[in-house]
Amino acid sequence: MKKLTPLIEWGTLLFCTGMVCFFLVVILWDLISKGAPSLSWEFVTSLPSEGMTKGGILPAIIGTVLLTMITALVSVPFGISCAIYLNEYAKDTWLTRLIRASIRNLAGVPSIIYGLFGLALFVQGLQMGTSLISAGLTLGLLSLPYVIITTEEALRRIPASTREAALAIGATQFESIRDVVLPSALPGILTGVVLTLSRAAGETAPILFTGVAFYINNPTGFLNQEFMSLPYHLYMLSTQHQAIEEVRPLAYGTALVLIIVVFLLNLTAFYVRYKHSKDE
């Protein structure tokens, strides 16, 4: 019995860890084994046809790419600028503390509430309608706190001596930030930005009422038009289609493409982080 107890104790922890790995294996195995047969060059390069029961998902891929680009255009400059202010300029005042508290709270706001905010502000308030730009701005706001938090972390790792060296040879504070601090923090910022965008690319709830559509026959999409996206396409195919069993292979294919896009973005981020840690 005495010999058995440590085994049980250790086994409990191993079981927990095993379960977590098991979840990931099930997710990947199911999506890959059942999604791979639907995957083909035609699937990712052609339009849906015959009431979504055949054809590909090209417009959804284009929509997701465009949407993620707009998200980046909104959240990256805004977020980096705010992080620079907090880390390089702000003193510890009540205002700074309020900004930080706001950022932490924004990061905890449920994504569906961002959807409502986008609907009230961009779609209705600013009269942009349900469109690519409304959805992109909404997702940009959702991503903003994460961009700020990760950028600030990257800036904090740059030693004060680096800044002082730049200031000592006569650079203004902005020049020191632009030419010295930002370039050295770039890998860290890039990692955070790409991880944030990979999350944004998979988000569905914030775009539900701000511009996503089930079918658009013009895949090029303009800013003021509705668009298709991969996560929404998967949602519709798996719950709202009139022939759910018939389109299941297409749903699996869409899920696999979505997860490949997200994992590729993640791998990019990990590669940047890994390469940077080697350089140091």
Partner: protein
């Protein structure tokens, strides 16, 4: 460039950076204002007491009823189920990572957890429909397995990476000397973990749990796809439920703007916002407590 010009640019850029900082407050304020404004419009038509104590959510009938209770109970039920699964599993995994796993094993397990965190919620919801649903249906003999249990399991999977990462940080933050003191008086590794390390990391672990709860309560797509969305008052884990988030997602797309129903959805969103705010504030309290305690 002349120094004066460079300094002018410096000042202008500083102002720009500062403005973006202030805009962040404006965004949170804007979200808050939007929820309050539309909720007030709702409460001008429906009595707040009817909203809070009403047991029927039936906004589209001729005799529209806006009771939040069934939605609130659904949200709590699914979150409770998710935490019952995710807390033990999460703490166990974090303890294994922090106290037992070697460097090589860690370098395999960490990416596993990061990958799990990266899976989009809509993909997890999809698997709830195609794998978990049929599985639960077979076990219980129901026609489909889209119920609270299904949603709870999926939410547990989604909350696990957060709980594991934060708990592991907390365990890692417990000074080595605590463990050595415990070994010194003859405790083994397991006793040290249960009686010393985990209690010492308790505030950090509570913060992890709160972050997990916040994530589970606010999650939309997974519960929307996996819980069946019956609007009747929830009866238990083996019945279909409809959470606050799912209700907003389903109904906002169909409701005409500026109607009572439209405002009602903002009112339940305001309740959701307040709950997640409270959960996050409690989590932050524990994080600060843990930091102070570590510094001491």
């Amino acid at each position: 460039m002349k120094l004066a010009a460079r300094e002018k640019i410096d000042d202008a850029v500083k102002l720009l950076f500062r403005t973006t900082g202030l805009l962040v407050i404006a965004i949170l304020g804007g979200i808050f204002f939007m929820l309050i404004w539309n909720s007030v419009a709702f409460f001008l038509k429906i009595k707040p007491l009817d909203f809070i104590t009403g047991t029927q959510w039936n906004p589209s009938g001729s005799n529209a009823e806006y009771g939040i209770l069934p939605l609130l109970v659904s949200t709590c039920l699914v979150t409770l189920g998710a935490m019952t699964i995710a807390i033990p599993l999460g703490i166990g995994t974090a303890a294994f990572l922090s106290e037992y796993a070697g460097k090589r094993l860690k370098s395999i397990l960490k990416p596993v957890i990061e990958m799990l965190a990266a899976v989009p919620s809509v993909a997890i919801g999809f698997l709830g429909i195609v794998i978990l649903g049929p599985g639960i249906a077979e076990l219980t003999g129901q026609s489909n397995g889209l119920n609270a249990l299904n949603g709870a399991i999926l939410l547990a999977v989604m909350a696990l990476p957060t709980i594991i990462t934060v708990t592991e940080d907390a365990l890692h933050g417990v000074p080595q000397s605590y463990r050595e003191a415990s070994y010194g008086v003859g405790a083994n590794k397991w006793q040290t973990l249960i009686r010393v390390t985990i209690p010492a990391a308790a505030p950090g672990i509570l913060a992890a749990v709160m972050l997990g709860v916040g994530r589970a309560i606010g999650e939309t797509m997974t519960v929307l796809m996996a819980t069946g969305n019956a609007s009747a008052f929830p009866k238990g884990f083996f019945h279909s439920v409809r959470t606050i988030t799912a209700t907003i997602a389903i109904e906002m797309g169909e409701v005409p703007y500026q109607t009572t129903h439209y405002y009602a959805l903002f009112a339940i969103a305001a309740v959701l916002f307040l709950i997640t705010l409270a959960v996050n504030l409690i989590g932050e309290y524990f994080v600060n407590k843990f930091r102070k305690y570590q510094a001491a």
